[in-house]
Symmetry: C2
Subunit: 292 residues, 2 copies
């Protein structure tokens, strides 16, 4: 084993053994030979899973053991738990350690643990890998989860450029493309391209069910269109409740716009206003094609 | 070439050379060797395309030539054109010919051409193959488009069982599974699993665009979730304006339910009511999983 020339972190601690945390230890093992990998979890069973497969050099339930002398700490638990973990591990942090995370919302994270760590003289930069799956847990982890993915790096402007470059290089070595932005812009963007689409997929699935139609008939007739449009709402309701409420401030205005727009299309249909309906659909097609 | 033992129709005329019509002549050629295939189009260019590739035995712009002595006539033009075509080809129809179509709505079709043909002593049974693509035109046609697809057969109760069995057998030979239902139920089901999802996909794409967010940032950050959720709204606005207005009666009540449900989830988010939001998402997940 040798330290990769451009490996910015000789040691990485991942706190949280879910799909993302598990994939991260696998990806580091594969893409950064020589890096020491530590995995922390609250519960024994995912650590056992990781141990049996040799996914990390150290699997531990002790936060102190997990972070001591480590240069990059990645929070991969639900964002609501960060502050509690931070107050527990901060005393073990090296001065030059960088703390990041993989959470889906960033305003709350910077206001919470980001601000707490800064006050303690530590560096926090947010990461949000735009990768995942409707599946959960370390048993669905994959070393290639981040290949080709975009990772948003969020900074509040106070971080030094060297730390940001190191973190960018870390994600790039895992095959991702990193883009830096401020936490507020991040939250507005993910509301538009992830959180609201999740709610709309859920709404579509819910709307399909009605007492007038046999469920079996819906099942027989549903083609790939329905199943693709609603796919994301198979994600964990618990996890998504967390994500959506954390980003409610950015999501609610989008939902209000969407309700108004839905009222409008309902009216166009009621009036059979073909000219404007076609324009409405053409604008949607253009919007999609300019994004995808 | 030999007549397949179970081939219920020695000759098939397809009126309309789009994606579905084109795929249909290709599928009949492949799955029913020996059947005579005629293709009618209003315009010369798709017929030229079909001729060059030998897709049909006769490519014609004459409705009389297309339907004379043919036992199965399939309307594959927009549903709004059926009546005009019907009044033109009815005088050339054999008494034992069956007329069907491939349109996405059925109440209007039975009330229109179905009722017209019945008055003239002819048989009409609706077909709706739940197959397609956001691509259009004979140049995207595929002989396997109907393999594994469900085809709804719509009858108003006056058709004879033998004709229905023959049409069912026709679709099954192309690899599809046929389900018979009445036109009203058909329209309610497709509203729920196709037309409303199309509108919701369009709404999701439209909602993502806002003056506050750079389009390039949305494009960089959008992952498969967004692109899958909105995929169907890449379909032709012109074609979908036709489909949606034809089925407005079934779609509008679904949209009203959906607006009310969206108001509810907005309120849950504003109140950060995690318990009920999680339940709302869990119901959506169950709804999807019971259909897909």
């Amino acid at each position: 084993m040798s330290f990769g020339f451009s490996n910015p972190f000789p040691s990485v601690a991942v706190l949280g053994p879910g799909l993302i945390g598990g994939s991260l230890v696998m990806a580091v093992r594969e893409c950064m030979p020589g890096a020491e990998i530590r995995l922390w979890a609250r519960r024994e069973s995912p650590l056992q899973f990781a141990k049996e497969r040799g996914l990390a050099d150290l699997c531990t339930q002790s936060l102190g053991e997990a972070v001591q002398h480590v240069k990059l700490i990645v929070l991969a638990t639900p964002t609501g738990t960060y502050s509690e973990l931070g107050t527990k591990f901060v005393e073990y942090l090296d001065k030059d350690a960088i703390v990041t995370d993989v959470g889906s919302t960033k305003g709350n994270v910077h206001a919470g643990i980001g601000s707490f760590l800064k006050k303690q003289g530590h560096l926090f930069i947010g990461s949000h890998p735009m990768a995942g799956s409707e599946k959960q847990g370390i048993e669905h982890a994959r070393p290639d989860l981040f290949k080709g993915a975009v990772v948003a790096l969020t900074t509040d402007g106070s971080e030094d450029q060297i730390a940001l470059d190191k973190l960018r290089s870390f994600w790039e070595q895992l095959g991702a493309a990193a883009i830096a932005m401020d936490p507020h812009s991040h939250d507005e963007i993910v509301a538009a391209i992830s959180h609201v689409p999740h709610l709309m997929a859920a709404l579509t699935a819910r709307t399909a069910i009605s007492p007038d139609i046999a469920l079996s008939a819906l099942g027989q007739m549903a083609a790939t269109g329905f199943c693709d449009t609603t796919r994301v709402c198979s994600g964990s309701p618990e996890l998504w409740t967390d994500i959506l409420t954390q980003n409610a401030e950015a999501i609610c205005p989008c939902l209000e716009r969407s309700i108004a727009d839905q009222r409008r299309v309902l009216q166009l249909l009621q009036e059979k206003n073909c000219r404007e309906l076609q324009q409405w659909l053409a604008e949607a097609k253009r919007a999609r094609e300019s994004i995808c």
